[in-house]
Symmetry: T
Subunit: 70 residues, 12 copies
């Protein structure tokens, strides 16, 4: 039914390999405790540098899911 309410949370996932994997890590972690994940929007991409090398690709992800109080 169309009147249900969704909540949006913002997560940061990271991966040594790619932004796709960074985003997947974030939504998988979220999926463990949240039901009905919908669209996941990418907000900002960056890279963490360590000693002149890329230590991690990171992606900010806004995930929406069914809201059931708090």
């Amino acid at each position: 039914m169309s009147e249900s309410v969704y909540k949006i949370i913002e997560l940061v996932g990271s991966s040594p390999n790619s932004w796709e994997e960074a985003a997947k890590n974030a939504v998988q972690e979220a999926g463990k405790s949240l039901k009905n994940l919908r669209i996941a929007e990418i907000g900002k991409l960056d890279m963490k540098m360590e000693e002149g090398k890329i230590a991690a690709y990171r992606a900010r992800v806004k995930v929406s899911f069914k809201y059931e109080g708090k």
Copy 2:
């Protein structure tokens, strides 16, 4: 007292009739478990289409309320 801390959460409400009703649905659902709701800002409006018709008007709402840990 003016030093209390507020938390902001982002919800998506929907309604078959109007964005006002969509926003109201979101804050009412939030109001069931949160106290001291204050200003509710509208972030983004859209419409869900189904078979060429508007199935729902949807509104993203940022609600602030008194923060009491997590």
Copy 3:
């Protein structure tokens, strides 16, 4: 390890004296129940007026911390 997931929440702190103190109030309150706070980004500054005077400086703060489900 670099693949852990972080969550971002948005708080509003206030203070009668300065935006620095307003932001500090917000992160201190958050720090009571959250572990591993990292970067805290300032989103928006404003002032609450009461009877023609500044009652409080307020700061919106986005805090990221280790995500452990919901």
Copy 4:
């Protein structure tokens, strides 16, 4: 003639019923003392909450009108 100068002012209207009415209240109030109102752009929508209920729908409106000094 096309070289006349317009001024833009920003108003906030409110209504217990809808954003359309909130915006209408703002432009009507402006229309009492300003001539030649043109396009009125909506900047931001929000809702004022009181005791868990929506006390008012509010709309920020940018109105342009013929500029005649100050």
Copy 5:
């Protein structure tokens, strides 16, 4: 299948009564010649003034639909 391509077009609908109706007019007109309309995002709301009165509520709508060349 998930690899199909969508196109986004931007329309402006208007109505003497409400932004909901303005947006509905835009998507209905689009729906006459386009198939598979999906999400319709609202970009900007304004009002057309005529002789000090609101002549029309207008809504900019971004509609996405299945792309089949040009």
Copy 6:
């Protein structure tokens, strides 16, 4: 009548002389096949460099015109 629907398209015009001429080139080209052009908004200005010289001033223009299906 105020309920007609408009479509917005985005063009890039260029000129060796000025951004005014670049924008004019864009709307003139559009005007050959489209009727009822209205407001043309400038989105972004840039310059194309060739061998250390400005080869062209370019202007992105959003033109709205009466929508008659596709």
Copy 7:
């Protein structure tokens, strides 16, 4: 002295020839009744179309000047 307060107003100037002239018209009109005009920022450029031709180049200009109450 550095503690004086400035006010910013937003004007729309227009010209049949160029955006430079449109902006100049706006600040000249403002300069008739305001003293100490400072930086004038350009906010948005557009063109007014009439019968398929450019009727006017228009520029939104934010002008700051010394504030002396209202």
Copy 8:
């Protein structure tokens, strides 16, 4: 009553010491001639340099107050 109309004006305050003081200067100056000042939003912060030193901290402030025609 919730249907009153507010006007928003934009001021620039400055201070040799801090942005808090710069913002306070702006709202105090405004408060001399305007009644019912409400929220004051900070838009942009900068610093005026003179001979390699900071001559003033400056804050752009949007103040809203009760609108009573012009």
Copy 9:
């Protein structure tokens, strides 16, 4: 010659594997009916979720190409 006019259209491509592939799908589909594709800008990335899994990576792409009427 530098005075030709370009048109920009906005497409959404998707892929089960990566945003690079999603963007490639969009420009390939466009390339079948359009000539002289130039720069393709990425506007927004997201992911479509189905039953807790990533069903598709999606990319919004703005493609510019030579404009030849409509």
Copy 10:
């Protein structure tokens, strides 16, 4: 070869006559010490006022050129 790296710098040019000339001044000055200038994007336009007159049209320009360390 497509894998070379470009650097972007931001300049402010000015001219008593036009924004085109202001931008040209900026890229010409840059061209004296930098090779392979490419696209120059315009970021912000303003005008410097002196004694109620326009003293200079100014343009912020982002210029990209081949990066060869620092």
Copy 11:
């Protein structure tokens, strides 16, 4: 003379005490090797957290200064 060219660079200053001091640190460091610093715009404020405490207030500052090749 008004046709000189300025360059803008972006710095991040930090301080354990305030954003004012963080910004001052940035411009002082820049002032050691650059002449004719002008307006310094604040871009983004944040705080570095260490073990639940604010280790530093940080400010992004855009400084403009006379451009003399590279």
Copy 12:
């Protein structure tokens, strides 16, 4: 020590294969002459087209590093 100053520069990297590789190329080139690279933020992604094919994926990267005068 927390009061050191960082500088931010903006680079454009490119790669025939992916945006991850494009960004890596940019930071590697920068790392040859700069020390203490920190966070690298992604600003804008695009694709260079040549004869209807993707010639390069390109990424704009903002790199911060320790500032030591100019």
